[in-house]
């Protein structure tokens, strides 16, 4: 292709003209000297030299000639690639797979782990936390502490606080619905720099006296889902958790709150807490959320003033915070759980500042390690893919020997040839990258679904943005050079050595296969360890039986019930449930097993003074319904289950789990002993221990069982319970009947969180399943590619040696011996790969040690299995060419070539 004339330094035509003029002058000179015309012309041409060569040399001066040559190379490469569609398809498809996997995982990492919040100057934000030797790290602060921190205006340009409210009842025009909400301090939106796209946000002026500002701001997505983007939404009256509010504005679409992966549907001012969560706010008591210093319920973020470092801010805040803690400790007097130890713990609490520009670390903390592991897996997969393509290109270079020889013969320079071959690789890389991007876009969404919990879906906005595009482009170019350069150089060199001993090809090809086998072993071994971890976790008895249990939740206080009505409502519901055919037993609890939550408090044992190192030890408290342990099938080791008779007015009772019983009573039986826990809802009354039950997992299956105390919910009524119903049939099929039973009791009571206990258990294994399944899939793919690579190499070598094999056979070698020879060569390569792969996988498995459960990083069974699988594939890859070699007909083989 020629460049347009205007782009060139000087047109060829002009140069031709100049050369022509030169020649004419010289001819004239010669004529003047008396030469005959023919000779004059001939002499002029001889003096001038080759005009074509002059033109070429002149053009090399041209900078743009380089670009012109590149365009030529691209056109030529495209033509060559089009001529071998199978090769192109195989390379582009495998690259698309490799690059697509990398892009998909990277875009997840970018969104979930690296991205900053979509707010003004997120890098200035810090999250405040407190840390103490007794309690550890605490993300939340009490309101009094927040008030003090707000005053630190010399280091902060502002401080904000918020609290998430899960599963709010959001009623519009008499229709209920669920929403994720948050309580925010007045400066929340202005400090973040988030402007309303409609109406206004919540402003500092909204934070008035408790209950005085019933205004709400809704999120864009909720506006779309519930109001179909109705612009008239501002001014609309709504009911949140049975309390009236007015919508004043809508936040922009990119704003999701301060917790990546979650979504805020509605925000209301902090001072409205008693309206939306009356059970939580406890106004007018010593536990009032606005005055009690020990009620840590607010997440606090601040914006550093420009030029103020975190350390400087911390130094400035320390004295203020220390004073707050001292005052708080004094404020404990008269409270049932006041003790010198508690006060000491209060005073010993220190402030900590973390970067807050990425928001709360919930998703980040959960998926950081798994995502990086999967990223490493796909990177290794890409290396295996590259090795395969490099091998393909080597073979192709050999097949193109004739073409390359011709091009060299007609004057192509070697560097130009290499450039053209590299351009070919780059085109392949870019093609793979482009399709990979499409694949990643599609896979990214599926991956998010895989990551999402059924209860709390992960709402990340994964789409290929600039960062991801740059990543994909650089990965494409990098891989293209990785697999392209060596084969290109080899191909260009090969024709010099006319003897055609392709030894270098074999050495490099062998090295590629060895690398593939080694990397595959690492991936297979990792996948094996992670899969067995998943199996171990699933097989482990979690302290309950997750089969055929249906879960669903209600929160009657949110729809207008009074606390005194709760017990009778729950009893009526249980009666209805038990009357449904197929229901074996029904109960309820504040938290269901593996729902990742319980309250904790300190426990006092009557007549027992704990040693000082244990005085602040806490136990988990769980209020449960009658026949709870029979229903979830937690073994009662000693004593009896709770019954319907354990209610207000009756003797106050409690049940300990095995860990708690052992912690407080050692080997003696705790039955009949009495405990109290004044820190739990301020009730100091003594509870008789009536049973000891097996430990059950509450947070996740890996946890060390925590000490737990169970109390009858009828003796300590709470709103917001989850029912556990064990059925004789498929629990999902009983769901309709159960929900109808609730509707029949009270049609206005919203039911949420309907699912089976098994799915809740599966949810808790989400990361493990994600990592195990992805690493298995990619490991299998890598193994397949390595197998194909090995097969290709051996098949090629057999093909090349047909002649030699024929001679061997003619000299009396038996087919078995020939097959053995080929197979031995294959296994030698595979063995070399394993020799490198085994130590490498040992190192790799140590890196994922923290993700394993029930087995060690160098688990012998897994190692052996991985070696067996990898060498099995290698043997298979070698067997096919070996069989072909053994069937070579010496007569035909000798005539070969």
């Amino acid at each position: 292709m020629k460049l347009p004339l205007w782009l060139r330094w000087r047109s060829d035509r002009e140069l031709d003209e100049e050369i022509q003029a030169h020649l004419e002058l010289e001819i004239q000179n010669n004529l003047d000297r008396g030469m005959p015309p023919a000779e004059a012309r001939f002499a002029a041409l001889r003096t001038f030299g080759n005009p074509t060569r002059v033109r070429e040399r002149a053009r090399e001066n041209d900078l743009l000639t380089a670009a012109e040559g590149l365009l030529q190379d691209i056109r030529y490469s495209l033509r060559t690639l089009r001529k071998s569609p199978t090769f192109t398809l195989v390379v582009v498809a495998s690259l698309a797979l490799g690059i697509g996997a990398n892009t998909a995982i990277f875009s997840l990492i970018d969104t979930a782990l690296l991205k900053m919040l979509p707010v003004r100057n997120p890098e200035q934000l810090v999250q405040l936390k407190s840390i103490s030797p007794a309690i550890g790290l605490d993300d939340a602060f009490g309101y009094p502490a927040f008030k003090e921190l707000r005053g630190a205006t010399q280091v902060f340009s502002g401080v904000l606080a918020f609290r998430k409210l899960y599963d709010m009842d959001f009623e519009v025009d008499g229709h209920g619905g669920l929403a994720n909400g948050q309580l925010v301090s007045g400066e929340y939106f202005s400090l973040l720099g988030v402007q309303a796209i409609l109406g206004r946000t919540i402003l500092p002026g909204d934070e008035k006296a408790p209950g005085q500002s019933p205004v709400a701001v809704i999120g864009y997505d909720y506006w779309r889902e519930r109001f179909a983007l109705d612009p008239e939404v501002v001014g609309k009256k709504i009911v949140l958790n049975n309390s009236p509010f007015t919508i004043v504005g809508v936040t922009p679409p990119e704003f999701f709150g301060l917790e990546p992966g979650a979504r805020i549907d509605v925000s209301v001012p902090l001072n409205m807490v008693a309206q939306v969560r009356p059970d939580f706010a406890a106004p007018g008591t010593p536990y009032d959320v606005f005055t009690a210093p020990f009620r840590n319920w607010l997440y606090v973020l601040a914006r550093l003033k420009p030029g103020v470092a975190k350390e400087q801010a911390l130094a400035n805040l320390e004295p203020i915070f220390a004073r707050t803690r001292r005052e708080s400790a004094e404020g404990l007097s008269g409270l049932p759980f006041d003790s010198p130890a508690v006060r000491r713990a209060f005073v010993a609490t220190k402030l900590q500042l973390d970067s807050g520009g990425q928001g709360l670390a919930t998703v980040r903390a959960r998926f950081s390690k798994p995502l990086w592991i999967v990223m490493a897996v796909v990177a290794l997969l890409l290396i295996v893919t590259c090795a395969n393509i490099a091998n393909l290109l080597l073979a192709r270079g050999n097949a193109r020997q004739r073409e390359i020889a011709v091009r060299l013969a007609i004057g192509a320079s070697r560097s130009r040839l290499i450039r053209q071959l590299v351009v070919e690789s780059v085109l392949l890389g870019l093609g793979g990258g482009a399709f990979g991007l499409l694949l990643a876009f599609w896979a990214g969404r599926s991956l998010l679904l895989l990551m999402s919990h059924s209860r709390a879906p992960i709402l990340l906005n994964v789409h290929p943005d600039g960062t991801v595009l740059i990543f994909t482009l650089s990965v494409s170019l990098f891989t293209a050079l990785l697999f392209g350069i060596v084969p290109a150089c080899r191909a260009a060199q090969q024709t010099i050595r006319t003897s055609g001993k392709a030894t270098s090809r074999s050495t490099f090809g062998n090295a590629l296969v060895v690398v593939q086998v080694a990397v595959s072993l690492v991936l297979v071994m990792g996948a094996g360890l992670l899969t067995r971890t998943l199996v171990n976790l699933k097989d482990f008895y979690p302290g309950f039986n997750q089969d055929r249990v249906l879960l669903f939740s209600v929160n009657p206080l949110m729809t207008g019930y009074r606390e005194s009505q709760l017990v009778s409502l729950y009893e009526r519901l249980l009666d209805r449930f038990n009357a449904i055919p197929g229901v074996r037993s029904a109960t309820f609890s504040v938290h269901s097993p593996l729902s990742a939550g319980f309250s904790s408090t300190q426990l006092n044992v009557q007549g027992y003074r704990p040693p000082s190192d244990r005085e602040l030890a806490s136990v988990g408290v769980e209020a449960v319904g009658p026949e709870y342990f029979r229903t979830v099938e937690t073994t009662v080791l000693l004593g009896r289950d709770f019954t319907a008779a354990d209610r207000a007015g009756g003797p106050k009772v409690s049940i300990l789990n095995k860990t708690a019983a052992h912690f407080y009573f050692g080997d003696t039986s705790p039955i009949g002993r009495r405990v109290n826990m004044p820190g739990y809802r301020g009730d100091p009354s003594w509870l008789e221990i009536v049973a000891v039950v097996e430990d059950a997992k509450y947070h996740d299956l890996r946890e060390q069982a925590a000490p737990m105390i169970y109390i009858p919910l009828f003796q300590s009524p709470e709103s917001g319970v989850t029912f556990e119903v064990r059925t004789g049939i498929d629990p999902a099929s009983a769901a309709t009947a159960l929900i109808n039973a609730i509707k029949a009791t009270d049609s206005r009571l919203p039911v949420f969180g309907v699912k089976t206990l098994r799915s809740q258990l599966d949810d808790s294994l989400l990361q493990e399943r994600l990592v195990a399944s992805l690493s298995s899939a990619f490991g299998a793919l890598a193994l397949l590619l390595a197998g194909v690579g090995l097969y290709g190499l051996m098949a090629y070598s057999v093909n090349r040696r047909t002649n030699e094999i024929g001679i061997r056979m003619a000299l009396g070698a038996r087919p078995v011996e020939i097959a053995r020879m080929v197979l031995r060569e294959t296994l030698l390569l595979a063995g070399l790969g394993l020799a490198i792969g085994i130590p490498a996988s040992m190192i790799a498995s140590r890196l994922i040690a923290s993700e394993l459960y029930g087995l060690k990083p160098g688990d012998a069974t897994t190692v052996l299995l991985a070696i067996l699988v990898t060498s099995g594939i290698a043997a298979l890859a070698g067997y096919l060419p070996a069989r072909r070699a053994s069937r070579v007909d010496p007569m035909i083989a000798l005539r070969y070539e």
Binding site: L15, I19, A21, H22, L25, N29, F48, R53, E60, N61
Partner: protein, 123 residues
């Protein structure tokens, strides 16, 4: 690639050092604008026919010099009433010539000294 320069006796062909042709072109243009053919014959004549140039090799060199801004060119009419491209020295070309001439002379002196020294040793 350096331009090939031939002496009267074809067996004594030598390869000119890189950049020498450039220097010769610049020097020739000191006497005023000139077209390619004029430069070629000028060099030959001035060197008393010791240096013969492949005329063709002149043109890539002229383009290179023009791109570097050392010479400029325009179409004009030769003394024999023919159309030809005339090259002339630019200000920076003049400066470069002065600098290069100085360097060249220094080098010739140095090389000459070394060669003479060896010659004396040998005798």
């Amino acid at each position: 690639m350096s331009p090939r320069v031939t002496e009267r006796n074809p067996e004594d062909r030598i390869q000119l050092l890189q950049g020498t042709l450039d220097l010769l072109i610049l020097q020739t243009l000191v006497f005023g604008p000139c077209h390619g053919h004029g430069i070629a014959t000028g060099i030959e004549r001035t060197s008393e026919e010791v240096l013969l140039i492949d005329h063709g090799s002149l043109y890539p060199a002229l383009q290179r010099l023009e791109r570097a801004g050392l010479i400029a060119s325009e179409w004009g009419t030769s003394d024999k009433n023919r159309r030809a491209r005339f090259y002339k020295l630019t200000r920076s070309g003049r400066a470069r010539l002065a600098a290069e001439t100085g360097k060249w002379e220094k080098m010739v002196r140095a090389v000459g000294r070394i060669l003479r020294a060896r010659g004396e040793e040998a005798t």
